[in-house]
Assembly symmetry: D2
Homo-oligomer: 301 residues x 4
């Protein structure tokens, strides 16, 4: 249970007092505001603030394209057109601010998305809590034998038990030692900025993360993808649920053109044309490498 009673009380208070605004309001998003969507064993994502809605995207596009957009009859059609033609600037006109609690090794992947604003909890200033990510049994996977960066089957039996025992006991011991080094009881106490180095990467941190919708879609395309590491994908999935309610037209277009979309190389397009004409194309006659051919087959089979 990631939320303390104090946190839940604070959320309840924030949700109890609506105020009037003249700004664009997304009803779907208002329902999510401040509520924590629980992720992994101690993590969460919650929306702290947002700017804009589907209409804000349309409004910005109409500034840019003026009369040029009039022939697209409705807002949904225009949003689909923008997404299909990679007109990204109107999507940048929406912004979201999230509060995320997440393991450090997930945070390290996440932060590689540079076009965002971040305020992370600082372990130089303050002491981290005793909270570590320990995978559920069904997330305890073996190294993939075919993919260098992937997972294979779920571990079971004695091996699974050994792994969980190691993760739990090492986390506990590290945190005991962290407290012991920090302690000013009968000793000076090590600087916080040094003591934190003993903590493993499954400890939880938290941050405020603010990003525009275009860059958020880029994040979601990579991190809600089947090839993303499970532990970041569950955060991306939780965010998808919020975005779907925030900007339903934009999210639907994103699902169709990005998440479910496929990019084919010019070689692949050539093969496709030949196949549609009835030719029997094989890897040997495709001009593609074995890897490319395998991925092409997976995309269209």
């Amino acid at each position: 249970m990631p939320l303390t009673p104090e946190q839940q009380a604070e959320i309840d208070a924030q949700r109890a007092t609506p105020r009037p605004t003249l700004r664009a309001v997304s009803e779907g998003m208002e329902a999510h505001l401040y509520k924590a969507s629980e992720v992994l064993d101690h993590g969460f994502v919650r929306v702290i603030d947002y700017m804009g809605d589907d209409n804000a995207i349309v409004q910005a596009a109409r500034v840019s394209y003026g009369a040029g957009t009039k022939h697209v009859s409705n807002d949904e059609g225009l949003i689909r057109y923008l997404m299909r033609h990679w007109h990204s600037t109107p999507f940048e006109m929406c912004e979201i601010k999230l509060h995320v609690k997440l393991p450090v090794f997930v945070a390290r992947q996440w932060i590689r998305h540079r076009t965002a604003n971040v305020n992370e909890y600082s372990a130089r200033y303050s002491i981290l809590d005793r909270e570590f990510y320990i995978p559920q049994p069904d997330a305890l996977a073996a190294q993939s034998t075919v993919n260098n960066q992937g997972r294979g089957e779920v571990l079971t039996g004695a091996e699974a038990e050994r792994v969980l025992e190691i993760l739990k006991s090492d986390a506990g011991r590290s945190y005991d030692h962290y407290e012991e080094m920090l302690s000013q009881d009968g000793q000076q106490g090590l600087a916080r900025e040094l003591a934190r180095m003993n903590l493993p990467a499954n400890i939880y941190t938290q941050w405020y993360w603010k990003v525009d919708l275009h860059n958020l879609f880029h994040f979601l395309r990579l991190r809600a993808d089947a090839h993303a590491q499970y532990e970041i994908r569950v955060y991306a999935d939780a965010i998808c649920e919020m975005v779907k309610d925030w900007v339903p037209f934009a999210y639907a277009a994103f699902e169709d053109y990005r998440m479910g979309g496929v990019t084919l190389s010019s070689k692949a397009v050539d093969c496709l044309k030949r196949m549609l004409k009835g030719e029997d194309v094989t890897q040997e006659t495709s001009g593609m490498s074995k890897g490319e051919w395998r991925e092409f087959q997976a995309a269209i089979a």
Copy 2:
């Protein structure tokens, strides 16, 4: 008068319908929303949307610095501390979206601030309006004789008249020719993306511009500065009036530490220390070049 009756009616309608929200609300900014602040002869700035307020800055800082910020007794003190110590990330947690109508030569300076989102009116898609910036008599300045990028005295008499006559007649003729080339009356009509090349840089364009508060302060520091070109400074000044009402603590800290602040080199600090001890320091004994000494004198005199 930059606003048409239609635009004014649209603004009135937008302002007439407050809706409830659970988000942070800045009362000061709500009063500005959608209203056009008139700038130059046909330009304006108006706030389309905003995210956050002074409290959002504090809230983000407290996530980062945790217990480390508790000793700063109040929100204003914390915001001043953050500004003084260049802790910029909490200020990035506020965002503003503006609708700006401005001459193209001003837009060209403005766009050099890269960390922002922009949707500009496209003259490839649509036809520009017949609106040109013609300076007021008191803005019609001679080239500075001391500063390569500055202005000197205001032009008067026959010279001023000649300049205004040129600007007006060239603008008018260019626009006539623009329409003539575009016309499909008895001819094919030149492509819009080509015809626009005949229009001078004082024609008005417009855009939506979205930026976070940290980057907005950077823009304002450079563009509301006395050395900025007058025609962009008036836009920066108009935005300052909005920001002052949006985030009053942050704006006051910005004024004190950035707009009114002075950066001294290590050489200048050395001189200052000697001067405070009663020594009579001259340019020759300062170690500074003439230019640096002149600027140093201006800063502390």
Copy 3:
């Protein structure tokens, strides 16, 4: 002829004096260094400096992916893999600095690519030259009747003559007036930062533009595309010729996966699968709008 004898002499001097370096050297790019590739009537692109080569991409990827990349047998295969799987960071490890002379209306499109470094000639500081883009007859196109932002047939006869006459005489007159307003002969002379506003958007400016290879590819994909405006496409085409010699493997992968690549929506992929199974799919049974269907047909026909 865009280059003055002085400029040509400077280029010759720069090219005459090779110096030893321990850095990665791209022979293909050395052959381009400093040489101006002429574009439009007075413009050019020339490479001022570069960092890295194909091997630098591979080297960076091997830092990231370590043993994970060993099974990819060669550099070209690895680069193709990176491009196909959108692993963009290794491509960011190469950098290029260009000197570009271009009409202002082209510069205004170009600058929208924000992730780059720019030093543009300042008309506040200095006086612009009398050089304007006047289209060649075969670039003088009518407005497209089907595409709001496109061109149709080439104008001919009296209409073409009238357009060229307008463009030439307006440019000339604007520049005469620019000089007249700036003149300090018997008058004070208008400030340069004001006088420039009278100049039309086909006047030439110039800048240094520095960008990493990943962002350059993004620029080239959009601007060397058939839908880009002709006047920026010719610059993109000229840059393509340089990049091809600089990083031949990366450029070939870019051509195959990006320039010649096609992105299909999930709806389009579904249709494709049905078509490959022999089903006769029409727009009505495709689930796509007419516009999407038309684009889909164009992609695979």
Copy 4:
């Protein structure tokens, strides 16, 4: 000793084969290329590539400011002028690529500088080495009692011994368990992307980091500062030594105006003016808070 004989041999080979180039060459930087500057117990920084030199900054400025820069008589003076007046774009025209080996908790601070390109070693793909940062005795500091994010006295005696013992034994045990979980000897072996979560933040990682000179100076101002954490400051210091030899004029200006510079608020400037006139100003009459006054005193005393 951070470098293996293999690495040293590779460096020697790279340094043995100069090649001719027509690009700008910085002799000072050539002497650093590829050589590892050792930092902390297992870390290093080494220059992999660079673009530009002092002259490249001047050259870019002269494109921008044209005739406006002619009155500045020499390159050093112009560079100092640019630095003093915050004209940052010419400094962006130089670029550097570093190979850095550093503890993860240092990497986490470093990566917050977003305007850079990074390729980090991936522990999803590959196995990390058994190398941990263990502080030297004189870096083993107590928590500061006055500064929430600072260090106080150096720990000694039994407390220091206990801390070192904890850091060493926890690191060793974590790594043993990491290997044990990964092992495929008689078991499936945990996925690398999961096993890494057990490793503490003092384990070493490595990356290629590419940044322009303007953003590098920003990094160095914050991280070579006395208030930066010691473990990142030593990296910044090592980089300073390289930059000093790469762009000596720019580095000297950076030292004078940024590292050694002081920013005063408008309140502080007012006090200073009063003090220079002989007035005895105290905190009570200064209008500053106690904290501001203390910092002001420290700056000018």
